[in-house]
């Protein structure tokens, strides 16, 4: 067990004991664990054997790393100095060029089978993966070198998990997520654009404490963070049930904070804890500030969740608008067509009947 002094010594480098314990308690709360495990977490987090982490960047915008830099529970300094040993991270490391490549090589050979590999960004596979190269090696080659030696892989962000915007139709570079290439390593997907850094931190702490990944759903996402629908925990849900909707951005309903369903909120089909965990430590999240959810934690969201301001997808088929408009056009044509066919059919029937009556009267006349 640890002592007060021990923690103070440990946390001497800029993080107070209070902050540190708070960080662990928040990680436990995010994971949905009881406060009893906090000491165990503190112990795991203080262990001198900080797990080495290799952070790979492929086709991405560094938004996930940016989001992580803004984490405050615990902050990035605590994370990379106290919780993990961040051996390779292209944005944060001091090394560059050949030295950086060496660091990566050393990290994966020295810690083979022990390190956590974090993958940020999609991996292009078309034309042997030439669309993303670092130090003369393709993303596929780098992942192929690093991933088999990792203890576990965390795919951070929708790109790493499912391919993201690169994989949107027509997917010119053949981008895929980590799980499409690596099959024999445990993979934890933390999707989102960007994901909430607390979900990432909580996953890391879970692996540290228990030595195994958290429970995952069918898409490989931790259930503690992605097990519930945004819609079911949304503060605007009563307005949905009540039938009070924002019709247009800036209208009186919008000002009153009504439900954003009609302006395209994807909360009803999106799994994430955004509505509960919120962002940036000041309790904000998209719906809270009046913008609908865009469904960024779901696979293929660029294809299935767009247009962002319509609640059904806009897979663009031959010409014209989104699929809902197209479907409605088809629907209108079908219903109109059905009505027209019915009318024409009825008219022909009636016409024919009238004609045959006339004929039969004529026949009768002839018979007379």
């Amino acid at each position: 067990m640890f002592t007060k002094d021990h923690i103070n010594d440990f946390a001497g480098g800029g993080v107070s004991r209070r902050t540190f314990l708070k960080g662990c308690a928040i990680a436990a709360a995010t994971l949905g664990l009881s406060p009893d495990v906090v000491p165990k977490m503190v112990e795991a987090a203080m262990s001198p054997k900080r797990p080495p982490v290799v952070w790979l960047h492929f086709q991405e915008c560094t938004g996930c790393s940016e989001a992580l830099l803004r984490a405050a529970r615990p902050d990035i300094a605590t994370l990379i100095l106290d919780l993990i040993s961040l051996d390779y991270h292209e944005t944060l490391m001091a090394a560059a060029g050949k030295q950086a490549e060496e660091n990566l090589h050393n990290a994966i050979t020295k810690n083979a089978g022990k390190f956590i590999c974090v993958v940020e960004g999609g991996i292009p596979t078309k034309d042997s993966g030439i669309y993303c190269k670092i130090g003369g090696k393709t993303a596929m080659e780098i992942l192929g070198d690093v991933a088999p030696k990792a203890k576990a892989i965390i795919a951070i962000g929708t790109c790493g998990a499912f391919g993201g915007v690169q994989a949107a139709k027509p997917n010119p570079t053949g981008a895929v997520g980590v799980q499409d290439l690596i099959k024999d390593r445990p993979i934890i997907n933390i999707p989102g654009c960007p994901p909430n850094p607390e979900n990432f931190l909580a996953t890391v702490v879970q692996i540290l404490t228990y030595g195994r990944p958290p429970e995952l759903d069918e898409l490989g996402r931790p259930k503690f963070a992605y097990g519930r629908k945004i819609h079911d925990h949304c503060e605007r849900r009563p307005h949905f049930d009540e039938g009070r909707f924002v019709e247009r951005f800036g209208d009186p309903g919008h000002k009153k904070g009504y439900c954003l369903y009609k302006v395209g909120c994807k909360g009803p089909v999106t799994y994430s804890n955004c509505s509960v965990e919120r962002f940036c430590n000041i309790g904000v999240w998209p719906v809270g500030v009046g913008h609908g959810c865009i469904g960024c934690t779901e696979p293929g969201f660029w294809d299935t969740m767009t247009p962002i301001y319509k609640h059904l997808p806009g897979i663009y088929i031959p010409v014209g608008g989104g699929i809902r408009e197209q479907a409605e056009e088809i629907g209108k044509v079908a219903v109109g067509g059905a009505a027209a066919v019915i009318a024409a059919h009825a008219a022909v029937g009636i016409g024919k009947k009238l004609f045959s009556i006339r004929c039969s009267t004529e026949n009768k006349d002839e018979e007379k």
Binding site: E218, G227, K229, T304, L312
Partner: protein, 235 residues
């Protein structure tokens, strides 16, 4: 006149009580599902901007939608059972174009509906054209039921797994659920029209048959399709 009226008719019992129960359950549940579904898809403005007494309209209509959905699924289950255990007219072998006789009949149906022939095929069960479309409707109903269950219980492990395999994310299931809705609207329009049209043009009295389960068959059955069963009226 073209038809030899008046004629002598048998009243023949065709549709079992179970089948009629299925028919009307499906009809009423589909009706409610379409109306509530359209509201859920695009809720019109029902509440003034000013806060006033609670309506709870979306929640209520969703409640009706789910309740009707259960009746819909149960009705389909009954129909599925009747595919195997129903009387001879209720089994797919009788109304799907899977043999020579049925194919011949199908061509004849289409001609009749296009006014290319005046002689109505007096047929005991479904006509082949109707039967085929009902079968397609059944399949669409199953897809509606599955996507509906997936959307209602996306977090139940088994349903989530099956739903994910079949349809992808709930968002994709929602799109399928919405698009098929149009097929049901289209079907109802045509079905009602054809039923009424048939009542004018054919002697079977199929609308009354939907309640009574019987059809009127001419005693001097003269049908172009041979081998048509002449089953005496028994009840």
């Amino acid at each position: 006149m073209i038809r030899k009226e008046p004629r002598l008719y048998y009243r023949v019992f065709v549709w079992s009580g179970t089948l009629r129960l299925f028919h009307w359950t499906l009809a009423f549940s589909t009706f409610i599902l379409i109306l509530t579904g359209i509201y859920i898809h695009y809720p019109p403005i029902t509440t003034k901007w000013a806060e006033f007494k609670p309506l709870y309209i979306m929640a209520t209509l969703r409640y009706w939608h789910f309740a009707a959905g259960y009746f819909f699924i149960c009705a389909l289950a009954v129909r599925f059972y009747l595919f195997f255990a129903g009387n001879q007219y209720e089994r797919p072998t009788d109304f799907l174009p899977i043999n020579k006789r049925n194919l011949k009949s199908l061509v004849y149906n289409i001609k009749f509906y296009l006014y290319l022939t005046d002689e109505h095929e007096c047929r005991m069960g479904h006509t082949i054209l109707a039967g085929t479309i009902y079968f397609v409707l059944f399949i669409c109903g199953v897809v509606m039921g599955l996507t509906g269950l997936y959307l209602l219980y996306p977090e139940t492990p088994t349903i989530a797994k099956i739903g994910h395999e079949l349809f992808g994310t709930p968002q994709q299931a929602r799109l399928i659920h919405y698009l098929l809705n149009w097929f049901f609207i289209f079907f109802i329009l045509v079905h009602l029209y054809i039923a009424i049209w048939n009542d004018f043009n054919a002697p079977d009295a199929i609308i009354s048959g939907a309640f009574s389960g019987s059809k009127m068959m001419p005693a001097d059955l003269e049908c172009p399709v041979e081998e048509l069963e002449k089953i005496p009226f028994e009840k």
